[in-house]
């Protein structure tokens, strides 16, 4: 079991940055689509609405990535601890913490 715990550590270490890369890729895609809509808009009113949607999209993705960045870092640290065998034996009482 301890070998499995340690072996999976590498997966958690990869999963952290992989999830952030996926989010950045998706953000670029969505922001690109939103900007295209601005260029495709024909009337001034439609352009203004598309521009506001594009701003919204950028804001949403910026928030999501900013929030998940420290969490992904935490997942890398968790993976590192797992690989180092820190979870082979969990503390029996909180006095060990």
């Amino acid at each position: 079991m301890n070998n499995l715990k340690r072996g999976l550590g590498i997966i958690w270490m990869i999963l952290g940055p992989a999830s952030i890369i996926f989010m950045i890729w998706q953000a670029a895609d969505k922001i690109g689509i939103a900007r295209e809509q601005v260029q495709l808009a024909t009337s001034a009113a439609a352009k203004s609405m598309a521009a506001s949607n594009a701003t919204n999209t950028i804001l949403q993705w910026a928030i999501i990535i900013a929030v998940f960045l420290p969490i992904a870092t935490g997942l890398v640290i968790f993976g590192k601890y797992a690989m180092a065998g820190e979870y082979d034996r969990l503390p029996e009482s909180s006095q060990e913490l």
Binding site: G74, F78, Q95
Partner: protein
């Protein structure tokens, strides 16, 4: 346990739970009224943008929760549990009441959304500090071997807070016309104003409570932490447990909680297109039937351990979400509306097209199928001013669906199932977290993973799921991949790394 002790713990549970329930109520009325709030506080011509902005504020409320956990967790470990969660109650009640007093965008322009955003952030901060305090306070009063049972009462408060918020909104809406409810100073504000009365009662009750005996003892011995943040997150031995709690339990619990209650209601209203009242009463009935299971699974965790109950709840969610939501769609599919009977004559209205001489003809018809499902069919056709081009048929939408009795109760059962999963993951988790950390840094250490798991992973379920459904090639069920994915990772980590432990001693 003696009768006196039983009465004592009963009082502790009641006083803690009431305040926590009110805080959840305050927090959820905003989310439940997202559509009307978006219309009141954001420019009307930006329908989708306004709704997304509100959802962003909703998410901001959740995102600041972890910061609230740090600020108030630290306070709770230094000055004590009682005064800290009294302070969070005052902040929450005050900000909720003030949201109800902010004039709309039409009256004060951009100041309206800015004020609402600031007040929402205060709500998020307050909630971040409340839960850890209440759970710790009850756990530190509970005898060994009964901690899961007693803390499970605190666990019912989030769901009951949602129940009360939906109930108050529904009652307010049913007591007046749609116009009166949606007006700038209309009925939608009443649930915010009601909050101040509830909070005053709860503050009075909490003022009479005594400090946690475990914390009082620690303080008397001069053993409280001077820097709980450093001890919680800068010491490897404790940090590794914080990370394990987050990735092996709370992350999955958070997405199961928000999918079962919030996303289910959101899906019924926006994807299955049920009418306002039915989409809410379905969730209300399901919550009512499922709430006792919090106590059941909390008590069961005292006997068989916390871990496997939580893991089973996640597994059931992962396996059944897609079939359940597919059934929601199948049972409300009215696209073959040709076979339906018209209920009354269609209503027709015309709207001019901006900057063009053409007009739009909107035909709205109420229809019913033989199986009893009623719905409104709305056709939007463009009528060109140039007679050669004539009329161009547009989209047909099906809204305000009302289910027949048997399908209605089937939907109640399907949401009930999801809330039972919630009770499995959430019922034992307060005891699980309390037992993981020492008294002197318990408030801080348990609050942060709890609020990252619930606030960030869970709170963003409706937001991220909605974003996923906007991806190219996405179906209405695609949004479910987010909670399924997060719960799956958590299930693997929890199964392999967590121990099925019941800590008898939390006095260290």
């Amino acid at each position: 346990m003696s009768n006196n002790a039983s009465q004592g713990i009963g009082k502790v549970i009641f006083s803690s739970s009431l305040g926590t329930l009110i805080e959840w109520y305050d927090f959820y009325i905003f989310g439940s009224l997202a559509t009307v709030i978006s219309k009141q506080f954001f420019p009307e011509e930006q329908g989708t943008a306004a709704l997304l902005s509100t959802l962003a504020i909703f998410a901001a409320g959740f995102i600041v929760r972890p910061f609230g956990a740090l600020v108030f967790g630290r306070l709770g470990d230094i000055i004590g549990r009682k005064y800290t969660f009294l302070l969070t109650l005052v902040l929450m009640g005050g900000s909720t009441f003030l949201i109800g007093l902010v004039p709309g965008y039409k009256s004060i322009g951009m100041l309206a959304p800015i004020l609402v955003l600031l007040l929402r952030l205060v709500q998020g901060l307050a909630l971040g500090g409340e839960y850890g305090g209440a759970a710790t306070y009850v756990a530190e009063h509970s005898p060994p071997g009964r901690r899961g049972y007693y803390t499970s009462w605190i666990q019912t408060t989030a769901t009951l807070g949602l129940f009360v918020s939906l109930g108050v909104i529904l009652l307010t809406k049913m007591s007046m016309s749609n116009e009166a409810f949606n007006a700038e100073w209309g009925g939608w504000r009443y649930p915010f104003w009601v909050s101040i009365l509830l909070v005053v009662v709860s503050i009075y009750i909490r003022m009479k409570m005594k400090e946690s005996p475990v914390f009082t003892k620690l303080k008397k011995e001069g053993k409280t932490s001077t820097n709980p943040l450093k001890e919680s997150f800068a010491h490897k031995a404790n940090l590794k447990m914080v990370l394990l709690a987050l990735f092996g339990a709370v992350m999955g619990q958070g997405v199961i909680w928000y999918t079962g209650q919030f996303y289910a209601q959101n899906f019924l209203e926006t994807k299955a297109m049920l009418d306002f009242e039915q989409s809410r009463t379905i969730v209300l009935w399901a919550i009512l039937f499922a709430t006792p299971f919090f106590i059941l699974f909390g008590a069961l965790s005292d006997r068989i351990g916390r871990k496997w109950i939580m893991i089973l709840g996640m597994l059931l969610g992962i396996l059944t979400y897609r079939p359940i939501y597919q059934m929601f769609l199948d049972k409300t599919d009215v696209s073959a509306s040709a076979g339906a009977t018209m209920l009354g004559a269609p209503s027709v209205r015309y709207e001019p097209v901006k900057d063009r001489p053409d007009s739009i003809m909107i035909t709205s018809t109420e229809k019913q199928f033989a199986d009893g499902i009623k719905f409104r069919e709305t056709r939007t056709d463009t009528m060109f001013a140039n007679p050669i081009r004539g009329t161009h048929p547009g989209n047909t939408t099906y809204t305000e669906k009302r289910l027949p009795t048997d399908t209605y109760w089937l939907f109640v059962f399907l949401v009930f199932l999801q809330i039972v999963y919630v009770t499995m993951v959430y019922g034992p988790i307060a005891a699980f977290l309390v037992e993981l950390f020492p008294t002197k840094i318990r408030y801080t250490s348990m609050s942060l993973p709890y609020h990252i798991g619930n606030g960030v992973f869970g709170g963003l379920v409706p937001f991220i799921a909605t974003l996923i459904t906007s991806f190219k090639g996405a179906t209405p069920l695609s949004g479910l991949w987010y909670p399924i994915g997060v719960a799956s990772v958590c299930l693997v980590i929890g199964s392999i790394y967590l121990r099925n432990k019941k800590d008898e001693n939390i006095l260290d």
